[in-house]
């Protein structure tokens, strides 16, 4: 069993694609990784090194071929689809490079979505929570805008608010600033750090930006499907 303060643990996790075919390929090799509650971890590495696969496995969007994954103490390999969906909804929030807000909904409604999907019917508590989150991220003024009627930075901040809606233990952010100009990228990063400090939410942040990686608590480097811990060369 994982330590109480450990929010995420990977034991000898491997991922193979096209198993049993001539083009079988192992993308991740025996990865061991442990992340403590409240850590702000940068995941770096060249393109094709397996960062996104690693993030998808941690995010319960994909399953490892071998090895064990513990999310908040739950061993996930034996969980069924429904249980995985529930655990993902509760424990993990996603922020992607492209915001991927649902354009048919307003900013507020987008933030309400994870809560709504879980509870089934909208209520005032959800609305209030979504409003608080947007307010914390400085977006209260735009909460009734349709997702498409906002700037890239604003949309990404809405996406962060949405990731926070279920108050998950872990937020996985796949190059959240990759598509933003320097100023917006900086704002978005600072916002995430702020959430991390205030709520103790664990962040795993995939980034190509070494400057941003340096400002994280810890850097995990993925190279050729293996993990190496270390400091970023300045």
């Amino acid at each position: 069993m994982a330590e109480t303060n450990e929010v995420l643990r990977l034991e000898k996790v491997s991922k193979r694609y096209n198993v049993g075919t001539p083009v079988e390929v192992e993308v991740l090799h025996d990865i061991d990784l442990s992340v403590q509650r409240g850590e702000f971890v940068a995941v770096i590495g060249p393109s094709g090194s397996g960062k996104s696969t690693l993030l998808n496995i941690i995010g319960l969007l994909d399953r490892p071929t071998r090895g064990k994954l513990y999310v908040e103490g739950h061993e996930t390999s034996r969980l069924g689809d429904d249980a995985i969906t529930r655990l993902r909804g509760h424990s993990i929030g996603f922020v992607f490079q492209y915001h991927y807000l649902i354009s048919a909904f307003t900013a507020l409604e987008n933030v309400m979505m994870p809560l709504l999907a879980e509870r089934g019917f909208p209520n005032d508590t959800m609305r209030a929570r979504a409003h608080t989150l947007l307010d914390q991220l400085g977006l209260a003024r735009w909460e009734n805008n349709l997702a498409n009627n906002m700037s890239g930075g604003q949309q990404q901040r809405v996406a962060i608010a949405r990731a926070l809606a279920m108050n998950p233990a872990i937020i996985l952010a796949d190059e959240p600033t990759g598509n933003l100009d320097t100023k917006s990228a900086d704002q978005v990063f600072e916002m995430m750090r702020e959430v991390n400090r205030r709520n103790g939410t664990t962040f795993l942040l995939v980034t190509h930006n070494l400057d941003i990686a340096q400002r994280c608590d810890r850097v995990v480097e993925v190279i050729d499907g293996r993990v190496r811990e270390g400091k970023v060369a300045a």
């Binding site: 996104s52 992607f96 649902i102 979505m113 949405r162």
Partner: protein, 409 residues
């Protein structure tokens, strides 16, 4: 967001609202399909109901008559004898159905037969003063016969009283003989019997020759006139389902041994036309329904492809496969429902307009319009169900979308 509306409905409605043009186009397509179905069904139902009513209220569904008399050669020619070269065709006398009371009580027990009406008819001469006309006298038991042939519906003067000395005559005959209600005519049969009868009512069957020749008297009066006391020449039946008349007739014939003719047989051409119409109507409905279904399915397939990222995000946020499935099914059902609602209005309205616009030469309506509310309800319901069914394939596809693939695009 309304608090009473669940997540799946909110999402389905928003998706439809956002893809406005797509939604409008497919709703219009469904509406046109449903309008065609409603228009055609209501039109044909009205036409058929009208025809059927005319045909089936002026004749029995099944008529039992005694078998034709046939001449039998007394013995077969022996070896070396010449066979009879000419067999004279026998005359068909007015004859009673053998043991008709037994046949009647047997048929009364059949649940699919609603009325059993024995009657007696034959030719006679109607005379008043110097005028005489040949007529067909039908002796009836008014209590049951009027359930088979609705003379009261066609009455234009007097009343439908048929006592021993009463006679109901057609408008043309009344004119030819110069009689009014309450006046008397002499009816003489070929057997030489004659009675003086009082005209109790005058009817109009909508057909000149029928109005000239048809008359109705009490069964006993006819029996006395034709010298067949206690006999009847036919038993008229009505059945619960007129379209089953022929099979019932065949069974009646098999059980009773009396010749049974259904209206389907005696009006073969009419019936063929009616069933051909029904078949083509059904075919049109099926094919229009199919094209509506494929229209909805194709729009939703495209929508699933367009929204695969949204669906992936929803899945990543904890939405279950079943929820995604329901969102798509609701969209399909809503498209079918909305389209059919408009379609029912367009179809019904179109029919009213057409019915009001098309007139007979004298300005009267072509036929009475039969608009069953159930037709609209069924059309709308079926279209909604079709929409849900059509959405099944795209919905499964959406539910099976791998969020990783969907998000990465």
């Amino acid at each position: 967001m309304n608090k009473l509306v669940p997540f799946e409905w909110i999402t389905a409605l928003r998706f439809l609202k956002e893809g406005r043009m797509q939604t409008i186009f497919i709703v219009v397509a469904v509406a046109i399909g449903v309008a065609v179905i409603v228009f055609m069904s209501a039109l044909l139902a009205s036409l058929q109901a009208n025809f059927l009513k005319r045909v089936l209220t002026s004749q029995p569904h099944i008529q039992l008559i005694p078998p034709d008399e046939v001449a039998r050669v007394l013995r077969k020619p022996q070896e070396g004898e010449v066979a009879v070269a000419i067999v004279q065709r026998p005359v068909q006398r007015i004859r009673s159905i053998d043991q008709w009371q037994k046949v009647r009580s047997e048929l009364t027990r059949w649940s699919e037969i609603t009325n059993v009406s024995p009657s007696m008819s034959g030719s006679a001469l109607g005379v008043r003063g110097a005028a005489s006309r040949s007529i067909v006298v039908t002796g009836i038991d008014p209590n049951v016969y009027f359930n088979v042939v609705r003379i009261p519906d066609y009455l234009v003067a007097g009343q439908v009283r048929v006592l021993t000395d009463d006679i109901l005559v057609g408008t043309e005959l009344a004119k030819d003989l110069g009689v009014n209600v309450g006046e008397k005519i002499i009816v003489s049969s070929a057997t030489g019997a004659s009675r003086v009868l009082t005209v109790s009512g005058i009817f109009d069957l909508g057909n000149k020759s029928a109005n000239q020749r048809s008359t109705f008297v009490a069964l006993r009066t006819a029996q006395a006139l034709f010298g067949l006391v206690g006999g009847v020449t036919s038993i008229d039946l009505t059945v619960t389902d007129p379209y089953e008349a022929e099979t019932i007739a065949q069974r009646v014939q098999a059980v009773t041994g009396v010749e049974a003719d259904s209206w389907i047989k005696t009006n073969a051409q009419f019936f063929t036309a009616v069933s051909a119409q029904q078949t083509s109507n059904t075919l049109i409905r099926v094919f229009v329904g199919l094209s509506v279904a494929f229209g909805i399915a194709s729009v939703l397939v495209v929508s699933v492809i367009q929204r695969s990222k949204d669906i992936g995000i929803l899945r990543a946020m904890g939405t279950s496969k079943e929820q995604i499935l329901r969102v798509l099914l609701i969209q399909g059902g809503l498209l079918g429902f909305l389209g059919s609602l408009f379609g029912a209005v367009i179809g019904g309205g179109g029919l009213f307009f057409w019915h009001g616009y098309m007139r007979q030469a004298d300005g009267s309506e072509l036929f009475p319009l039969v608009l069953e509310p159930s037709l609209f309800a069924v059309a709308v319901l079926l279209a909604a169900v079709t929409g849900v069914a059509a959405a099944a394939v795209p919905a499964l596809r959406a539910a099976r979308l791998d969020p990783v693939v969907a998000i990465r695009g």
